[in-house]
Each structure stands twice: as structure tokens, then as C-alpha cells.
């Protein structure tokens, strides 16, 4: 599966962003690099989908943001999961597991 052809469903992207922030706060570029890392390079999130998603999740209350300093001393906007965001991630991950299990079961069926 070539990464450039991977079409991210909106729900998938949201879930990946939440998951990438599970281990701690990150700025936009950090989120995109982290997603690349945890999906072993399968998903490369373009800024055109990343930023709308980040802002949407923040407005929904799953994330908060603040200005901080990057590892290279650049001023950057960091994102962090909220309590509600963590709950939401748990819930969504569970849903996704169910769907994925069902899908793989369905595809294996003869």
C-alpha cells in the first residue's frame, strides 16, 4: 500500500491524532511525524488535513492548545489531550477494534 494513495477517513485521522497525543503534548509537525512513526510510515498526514482536524478536535473539547518552544527553540503551538479527549479516545479505539475485528473476520470468511 503506497502511503501517498492512502485515503484517510475523517474518523481515522481524528483517532490517529488523539492516539499520537496519548503519550504527551506535541506541536503540529510533531503530530504528523508521530503518526508516520506509529503507523510505520503508512500514513503521511498533509497539513491541509492536519490543521483543520486539530482545530476541529480542539473546538470539540478533546484537545487544548498553548504556545510553547520546540526542541529547536522555535515558537510553536502545542496540543494536549484533555480528560474528555482521553475518554473519547478510549471509546473510539474500542469501536475501531470492533469494526476492524468484524471486517477482518468478514474478509477471511469463505
Amino acid at each position: 500500500m503506497s502511503s501517498s494513495q492512502t485515503n484517510l477517513l475523517q474518523g481515522t485521522l481524528d483517532l490517529l491524532i488523539l492516539k499520537s497525543l496519548k503519550t504527551g503534548e506535541l506541536h503540529g509537525l510533531g503530530v504528523s511525524r508521530r503518526i508516520e512513526q506509529i503507523t510505520r510510515g503508512a500514513f503521511q498526514v498533509k497539513p491541509g488535513s492536519l490543521f483543520p482536524a486539530l482545530h476541529r478536535l480542539e473546538e470539540a473539547g478533546w484537545l487544548t492548545s498553548f504556545w510553547g518552544e520546540s526542541e529547536n527553540n522555535r515558537r510553536a503551538r502545542f496540543y494536549r489531550l484533555t480528560k474528555g479527549g482521553e475518554r473519547h479516545l478510549g471509546h473510539e479505539a474500542e469501536e475501531w477494534q470492533k469494526i476492524a475485528a468484524a471486517m477482518s473476520h468478514a474478509l477471511k470468511a469463505t
Binding site: H27, L29, P47, F51, R56, E59, R77, G84
Partner: protein
């Protein structure tokens, strides 16, 4: 949690838009810088790294727009943008804007006025509690055809009404100790206020328990308007004794403001019990005369669960008993029920027809206005074809352009609607206080209410949508490439036939409207100048009322002769005559029945004719300029 966060975002996005946008700008800038940092670390020189980064981002503006499109409250934001753009566009063409708003003001204003009248006179229920169970009892085609004994029998013998009340209208002289003045009064049955279920504003009303036979209840209740105008809101009037036609009557209370009885357009000054009619007018027999139908209106409140049809049948069965008992006096007319407010079917039908016609005409006016504005809008869209084409070419969606055009038309129609509503409210207020005939307390109570506002708003929105929809096809069909290529004389809108159709529709509607208004104006002119059999030029009317001044019996003709002589003596007076009701004024109870010579049974149903009867003095015809077709005038005895 989620709701609160959404609300906070909405407030921030709407109120601190610049801050939010600056934040976004800085965030994306820092993203690009950090991406470039990575490439520099990879061994590329900085300018080249920055250039390739920006190229990869595909335009920061584009990303910003997608973030904005996902924000909470984007709909408001877009609407606000559309409104601002529409306002700018309209300001750029003031001629068009003023024409459109003015046209709509006239059209919507006319509709609001007519609907206001329709609403007040027909749609709105009477201003009394549980008005839906209140009905006017009619006898035959004429509402004013009940005698007092008939009323008493109907009231006692029916089983369908909780209560049945009756009233007559008359004038009296009211003397509070200073100037006696003429007042219009309702002479009502004792249960009148209780039947209508209204409560006094001040003091108390009279009830059935106050009435014990002829002249037993010398009480008077003032209407709110009369109390306000003649007693200066004096709360101590309750219990005060005033003189009505020189007889002492005690003021019991004041009716609530806005109470108009069951006849919407007639405003009475005072209410007195009808049992005191003899005391007021010296007429000993009228209360007991079964053949004299002088009661103006009978109103009844149906018992719960009784239908109007059942009540009508009940009344007619009582009537058949009465016909058997009093064959001479009872007529053969059946009893029917009608809605109160417009004096039963007497005015209800004509008013309804007239107002429906007017409503139709004003609807046509609005339609013509919409057709007119529709073609104006289409022309405007054609003029703006290059602008539209450019916007389409630059990537604007057709939806967005259409929404913007609709915003423009709805803004115009709302402005016209508000202006029309304000004008109609002013006009309706004027109409409400207007008294067409100074001698009569006639009013058209048409104060506007929420219904009128709502209708004006809906009409504005509907007409906005109607004329806004005209250029839609034009826009949808537009091919930006063709238009830009063709230059300012583009083919855009050349093939339009919708505008031609609209023009024809508009001319047709206007022809109907102009014709009907010409007919109406001509009719009015003719009735103003037609010959009524008297000469109004150089004639003066002097209103006198000897009864209220305490004259009765023999003294009346003597005083009348003295007055005629005194006026005759005034230099310049050519002739003087007296008549009990001036020309064109309906004579109240002065009706006489005419029988043929051979009729022996003088019951009302056998009458050959029922003419109006006027009492005149010998010189009256000369004074009024009436020429006799044959015969000669009366001579002074």
C-alpha cells in the same frame, strides 16, 4: 462538556475573529519554518528549503481556508460576509435599492393594512372571555327585530343557553351638575355583563338581582373611554348620582378598557338597565309591547356541549309556542344564530366579501411588485454577468453566488417589509381613532397585533424569495469561459424569455388594478354628486334633543315652534324645518307598518309594507330643497 466547549469556540470565533486568525497564521508559519529546519538539517540551503516547503504545503491561504471552513459558527460567518457584500453592492446602486425598497414598502404596506383590518374585524375573536360560545340571536334577516316580551319568553323557555341578554341603543342627556351632554347608551337586560362574563374596571356592574320590574334599577355603568374623557379618571365617581334625562341615576362602576360590547364598531358611552326605559323616555307601553321590535341585538352564551344547530332548533320550538299564543304579534321569520362582532349576518357578510376582495387586490399589488423586482433583478444579474463569471472562474461555487444573490433580495424585501409595516401601523392607528360620522360613535377598531407583524414578515420573506429566484437559472447556466471571452457584451442573458413573461404578467396585473381603482373612484365621485332628493348646499343642521332637556307631552310641539320661529328670525335665514332624523340617517325605531284597507288582522306578518317614517314640520321640504312629485306639503296647524 462538549457543548460548553463548542459554545466557547463559537463565542471566540465570532467575537475575537482577528486574534483567532492571527494565531492560525502564526501556527502555520511556525509549522513551515520547522519543516524547513528539517530540510536545512538534511543539507539543503535555507532559501531552497523554504521554497520547497511552501510548494509542498500547497499554499498557506488554502490551508487557512480549510481550517476556517471547519470552525464552529462558520454559517454565521458566511452569512455575515454575504450580508456585508450585499450591503456594499446595494450601496453602489442607490437608485435600484431605493426603487426596490419603495416598491416593496407600498406593496407590503398595502397588504399589512388590509390584513390588519381583516384580522381585527373578522379573524380576531371578540374581546370577552370564552368568545367562542357567544352567539347573536337573529330573527329573520334583520338582527334588530326582537321585542322585549319576546326576549323574556325566549330567555325563560330555552334550554340551550347559559344566559341570554339583550340591549337597545339610544341617546340620553347626561347631567353631572354642570353641562348636560348627549351620550350614547346601551339599554341592557340586567344579565348583560354576566352573559359576556366580563369584570368591571372600577366599582361593580348591575346584575339580574338589581332588577325588579319597571324603573327599579336607576343605575348607570360608564364605559372606560367615557370615564377617562369626561370624569378625568376620577376613581370617586362610584356611588355618585348623575341625572339622565333629568332623572337621578347612581354610577355603579366603570367597564374595563377595550371592552366594546358585542358590536365592534359602535362605541357606547354608558350602560343602563333597559327596565328603566319608561323613566328615561316616558314611554309606558314599549317594554310590554310584543309587536314592537326595538331591541338592537340579542346575545346568548351556549351551554357547554350544545351545538349552534341544536340551539337554533330549540329557539324555533319556543317561537312556535309563541306564535300559537300570540298569533297577531308574532312574525313568521325563523330564528338563526350568527357570530357576534359585526351585528350578526347584517354586516358580517358584506364586510367579509369586501375585505376578501380588498385582500385579493392587495395580493395582486404584491405580485405585480414581485414581477417588477424580479425583472429588475434579472437585468441586474445580466449587468453583473462579468463579475459573476470572474468569481466562477476564480473558483467560487455557484451555490455561494446564488446564496449571495438571495441574501441581497431577502435584505431588500426585509427592508421593504419593515418600512411597509411601520407605515401600515401608523395608518391602522389613524384608522382606529377615525370617526367617520361625527354624530355617531362609530369606530373601526383595527389596532395591529402580533398576527399583523407576522404576516408582514412572512410576506416580505416570500416576496424576497420570489423575485430572488428569477435570476437563478441565468446564473446556473452561465459559462464563465464564454462570458469572459465575449467581453462586456457577453451572451449572458441574451436568450432570456423569463423577463419578457414577467413584463407581460406585470402589465396584466397593473391593468386589472388600475381598472378596478378607476371604477371605484368613479363610483365614489358619482355617489358624492348624485341627487338624493335634497339640496345640501347652504343648508345647516342644528341638533336638538328636547327629551333630554326634560320636555315631554304638550310642551314639545310648543317648544319646537318657538325654536323654529327664533331661527326664522335670524337675518339671512330663508326657511326652517324640523325632522326627527336628518336625510340619509337611518331612523331608529320610527317605523310604521302599513296595511291594506281590507286587512282586518293587524299582525306584523300581514303588513303590506314597512316604510321608514319621518316626523317633519310644515316648512321642512322647502328648507331641505326637496320638491314633491305630486300633491302639496303640510300646513302649520
Amino acid at each position: 462538556m462538549q457543548f460548553r466547549s463548542r459554545l466557547e469556540s463559537l463565542m471566540r470565533n465570532l467575537l475575537r475573529k482577528h486574534e483567532v486568525d492571527a494565531d492560525l497564521e502564526e501556527e502555520l508559519e511556525s509549522y513551515a519554518t520547522m519543516l524547513a529546519d528539517e530540510r536545512v538539517a538534511g543539507g539543503i540551503c535555507r532559501p531552497e528549503a523554504r521554497r520547497s516547503t511552501l510548494a509542498e504545503l500547497g499554499g498557506i491561504e488554502h490551508i487557512k481556508q480549510s481550517v476556517r471552513d471547519g470552525r464552529t459558527g462558520i454559517t454565521f460567518e458566511l452569512l455575515w460576509q454575504d450580508i456585508r457584500l450585499a450591503l456594499r453592492q446595494l450601496r453602489k446602486s442607490p437608485g435600484f435599492t431605493i426603487t426596490a425598497v419603495f416598491t416593496l414598502t407600498l406593496a407590503i404596506g398595502a397588504n399589512a393594512v388590509v390584513f390588519g383590518v381583516l384580522n381585527a374585524l373578522i379573524l380576531r375573536p371578540l374581546n370577552v372571555p370564552q368568545a367562542e360560545s357567544l352567539f347573536v340571536v337573529q330573527h329573520g334577516s334583520d338582527v334588530a327585530s326582537h321585542s322585549y316580551p319576546d326576549y323574556l319568553d325566549l330567555r325563560q323557555r330555552n334550554r340551550s343557553f347559559d344566559d341570554l341578554a339583550v340591549f337597545a341603543i339610544s341617546q340620553s342627556g347626561l347631567d353631572t351638575g354642570k353641562d348636560p351632554s348627549n351620550v350614547w347608551q346601551y339599554e341592557t337586560s340586567g344579565n348583560y355583563f354576566d352573559t359576556l362574563r366580563i369584570q368591571p374596571y372600577l366599582g361593580r356592574f348591575f346584575h339580574d338581582s338589581d332588577v325588579h320590574g319597571p324603573n327599579s334599577a336607576p343605575y348607570v355603568v360608564l364605559s372606560y373611554a367615557y370615564w377617562h374623557g369626561h370624569f378625568q379618571d376620577d376613581r370617586t365617581v362610584v356611588g355618585r348620582v348623575v341625572r339622565l334625562n333629568r332623572h337621578p341615576f347612581t354610577i355603579l362602576g366603570v367597564a374595563p378598557p377595550g371592552f366594546q360590547g358585542t358590536i365592534l364598531f359602535f362605541v357606547s358611552d354608558i350602560f343602563v338597565p333597559v327596565v328603566n326605559h319608561e323613566q328615561l323616555f316616558g314611554d309606558k307601553m314599549i317594554l310590554n309591547a310584543r309587536g314592537i321590535r326595538w331591541m338592537f341585538e340579542m346575545v346568548g352564551r351556549l351551554k357547554p356541549g350544545v351545538t349552534p344547530a341544536q340551539a337554533t332548533a330549540d329557539l324555533n320550538s319556543v317561537d312556535s309556542y309563541l306564535k300559537k299564543s300570540y298569533p297577531k304579534e308574532e312574525s313568521n321569520d325563523p330564528y338563526t344564530l350568527a357570530r357576534p362582532g359585526l351585528h350578526g349576518d347584517y354586516l358580517n357578510g358584506p364586510t367579509r366579501t369586501f375585505l376578501t376582495g380588498l385582500m385579493l387586490l392587495s395580493g395582486l399589488i404584491l405580485l405585480a411588485a414581485c414581477a417588477n423586482l424580479g425583472s429588475l433583478f434579472a437585468a441586474r444579474a445580466a449587468d453583473r454577468s462579468r463579475e459573476v463569471a470572474l468569481r466562477l472562474a476564480l473558483g467560487s461555487s455557484r451555490n455561494r453566488i446564488l446564496r449571495q444573490l438571495f441574501t441581497e433580495s431577502v435584505l431588500l424585501s426585509l427592508a421593504g417589509g419593515v418600512a411597509g409595516l411601520v407605515a401600515s401601523i401608523l395608518l391602522l392607528r389613524r384608522l382606529s381613532v377615525w370617526q367617520p360620522f361625527p354624530r355617531f360613535p362609530l369606530h373601526v377598531p383595527v389596532s395591529p397585533d402580533a398576527n399583523v407583524y407576522l404576516v408582514a414578515l412572512v410576506l416580505a420573506l416570500v416576496s424576497g424569495a420570489l423575485f430572488g429566484i428569477v435570476p437563478v437559472r441565468q446564473i446556473l447556466r452561465a459559462n464563465p469561459y464564454e462570458i469572459v471571452k465575449a467581453g462586456s457584451t457577453g451572451a449572458f442573458g441574451r436568450r432570456i424569455t423569463a423577463r419578457d413573461v414577467l413584463l407581460v404578467v406585470q402589465i396584466a396585473i397593473c391593468a386589472v388594478l388600475v381598472t378596478s381603482s378607476m371604477v371605484a373612484v368613479r363610483g365614489l365621485m358619482r355617489s358624492m354628486h348624485s341627487n338624493f332628493g335634497f339640496e345640501p348646499r347652504n343648508a345647516m343642521l342644528v341638533d336638538t334633543d328636547l327629551t333630554t332637556a326634560g320636555y315631554s307631552g304638550e310642551k314639545v310641539p310648543a317648544m319646537q315652534r318657538r325654536m323654529i320661529d327664533a331661527i326664522q328670525a335670524i337675518p339671512g335665514v330663508d326657511s326652517v324645518g324640523s325632522v326627527n332624523y336628518p336625510p340619509l340617517e337611518p331612523p331608529g325605531t320610527w317605523q310604521g307598518l302599513v296595511y291594506t284597507d281590507t286587512t282586518e288582522d293587524l299582525s306584523p306578518s300581514n303588513a303590506a309594507a314597512d316604510p321608514n317614517m319621518f316626523n317633519i314640520s310644515p316648512d321642512y321640504f322647502r328648507a331641505s330643497g326637496t320638491s314633491l312629485l305630486a300633491g302639496q306639503s303640510l300646513l302649520m296647524a
